[in-house]
């Protein structure tokens, strides 16, 4: 099938280029590990968790969602560089699938995020975090969908604004409220009522809740399927919209 073949082609190319730059891989893993080592120990007293393992159950899912959001949102910068180099235009004169131009790139981002997620999970295991493999895989699915959506949207916006100067403030403006209103760093259970009310409108808040439930072993919790459904729909919409930008972008 042409779409699958083209997607694989673009994915391979993008992954190769990523691996060629070892610094990037290092930074991608280093940062979250720092969070895990230096920030997480504060949490047990702060959250009033009975054990360190309990604190990790709350913090690790939040950290992973955070990585998925940010890992995706800032991918657009690389695309602007490609746009400027003429690589995108060169692809667009070939019959290669426009959806594949997007999917190949976004899947690369998903894979690089999953690598980070696995490393962090393994490290957290050393700190006595325990999670069932089935729950964990479902949580990874959630993360993958989040990264797919944010990277697709970032690519789409990059093709629209075409300049780093416009993309950076735009993405920061989006990222900040999303971050604050999702209970990523601290659960919104601590938040006043009005804040919880506003957060209901933030899809990532649902994603965080669902992921936490999974890490807690509550696979039957309503928040799991609700979070997954909301994010899956948004990911599909994001991919559709961004692929259209690939099809029609002008210079």
């Amino acid at each position: 099938m042409k779409l699958a073949r083209d997607t694989w082609l673009i994915f391979q190319r993008q992954l190769n280029l990523l691996l060629r730059n070892p610094v990037w891989v290092f930074v991608g893993v280093f940062q979250p590990v720092m969070y895990l080592l230096l920030f997480a120990p504060l949490l047990k007293p702060a959250l009033g968790a009975p054990t360190q393992a309990e604190a990790y159950k709350i913090f690790v899912p939040g950290l992973l969602v955070l990585l998925a959001i940010f890992g995706g949102l800032f991918q657009g910068f690389g695309l602007i560089a490609e746009l400027r180099a003429g690589v995108i235009e060169r692809s667009r004169v070939t019959p290669v699938s426009r959806l594949a131009l997007l999917l190949g790139r976004s899947l690369r981002d998903v894979v690089s995020l999953m690598t980070q997620a696995v490393i962090i999970t393994l490290l957290a295991l050393l700190f006595d975090l325990r999670v069932f493999i089935g729950d964990l895989l479902l949580a990874y699915l959630m993360l993958a969908l989040i990264a797919l959506m944010t990277s697709a949207v970032s690519y789409g916006v990059a093709l629209k604004v075409k300049s780093e100067d416009a993309l950076a403030p735009l993405m920061n403006t989006v990222a900040q409220p999303v971050l604050l209103l999702s209970g990523i760093l601290l659960p919104l259970a601590f938040a006043p009522g009005w804040l919880q009310g506003v957060a209901k409108w933030n899809p990532f808040s649902w994603a965080v809740d669902g992921t936490r439930a999974l890490f807690n072993g509550d696979i039957g919790d309503d928040r799991v399927w609700q979070g997954l459904t909301i994010i899956a729909i948004l990911a599909a919409a994001g991919v559709y919209w961004a692929a259209r930008q690939f099809a029609r972008s002008v210079r």
């Binding site: 042409k2 083209d6 082609l9 190319r13 190769n16 280029l17 060629r20 730059n21 490609e82 180099a85 003429g86 690589v87 235009e89 060169r90 692809s91 667009r92 004169v93 070939t94 019959p95 290669v96 029609r248 002008v250 210079r251």
Partner: protein, 319 residues
């Protein structure tokens, strides 16, 4: 091979609060037969790139139609893409990839299988004398080497037509001559080559036929020889001080042997006359009698620049 009718495109651009509409291409009709090197000659901003990008399916025309290698541009852009190659003006290679990787990827984006893509990449590297650098990152290439990779990318799938947007801009004279040879080789292989240029000598020496473009319109079309023949007679260029130019214009404008007269920015005049050999002594006598200081006098056959000058009232060299 390429047939366009009334191709149009305008851009809306925002400058501060105002939105301005630039009519980049306003009704271009072209007929390019197979197996030719067809040149698009025109100054900066004439609309060459915009026309090419429309023909390469990158932007949608506002109006008009085109058939390219037998496929309809508007109804079947996918088929057009399969049959053409396009090499952009501003480059198209990625710093961190090697030339070979780029060529293989490009072939595979056209649906060619991996082993075949590798074979073609190797062949293209050889043909464009790139074997030595094939596995070095593109960012280490010289401008000329990089341009050769880009041209190779444009033809890796053996298209019927290749569009080359300013293939020789920025190359030194020797690399330019090489590039000309390579372009001629493409024609020898049966490809139709559509190039843009603002070099007069390039249009003259390389192209079988040219279209001269200005302000979004084709102002003249034909073989270089035909176009020059259209302007009968000779051109006499008189070099004068800027201060003396006005007076000389008054002196010579009325002379019955002067068909047309143009002022030169750097001082002096360009006179279109029927026969240079008889005109020159008469010009000299007039200028001398008026006591003007003559710096130089040249006689030449009309060039493509003169064609451009007669069609647009401006010189291509100045714009």
């Amino acid at each position: 091979m390429i047939e366009t009718r009334g191709l149009r495109k305008s851009f809306r651009s925002r400058a501060g609060r105002e939105t301005k509409t630039v009519e980049a291409v306003r009704g271009v009709d072209l007929d390019v037969p197979a197996g030719e090197i067809f040149g698009f000659l025109g100054p900066n901003g004439a609309g060459k790139t915009t026309t090419l990008r429309m023909l390469a399916t990158l932007i949608e025309p506002d109006g008009g139609q085109a058939t390219i290698a037998g496929a309809d541009l508007l109804k079947d852009p996918g088929e057009v893409r399969r049959r053409i190659g396009y090499v952009a003006q501003g480059g198209s290679t990625w710093d961190e990839s090697t030339g070979r990787e780029e060529l293989v990827l490009q072939a595979r984006m056209y649906g060619i299988r991996k082993t075949e893509a590798q074979r073609r990449a190797a062949r293209a590297l050889e043909a464009f004398q790139l074997v030595e650098f094939a596995d070095r990152k593109c960012k280490t290439y010289s401008g000329g080497q990089r341009r050769r990779v880009e041209i190779a990318l444009g033809i890796i799938h053996e298209p019927k037509i290749v569009f080359l947007d300013e293939p020789t801009t920025g190359l030194d004279p020797q690399s330019r001559a090489h590039m000309w040879d390579e372009i001629r080789r493409l024609r020898a292989d049966g490809m139709t080559v559509f190039i843009t240029t603002h070099y007069l000598d390039e249009a003259d020496a390389l192209c079988d036929r040219i279209a001269i473009m200005d302000h979004g319109e084709v102002v003249a079309e034909g073989t270089p020889a035909d176009l020059k023949r259209e302007i009968s007679g000779d051109v006499v260029q008189v070099g004068l001080d800027v201060t003396a130019t006005g007076e000389a214009e008054k002196l010579l404008d009325g002379e019955e042997y002067v068909n047309r007269l143009e002022l030169l920015d750097e001082g002096g005049l360009r006179l279109f006359v029927d026969e240079g050999a008889t005109a020159i002594p008469r010009i000299l006598r007039r200028v001398d009698a008026a006591g003007l200081d003559l710096r130089s006098i040249e006689l030449h056959r009309p060039s493509l620049d003169d064609v451009f000058l007669t069609k647009t009232g401006r010189s291509l060299r100045e714009s």
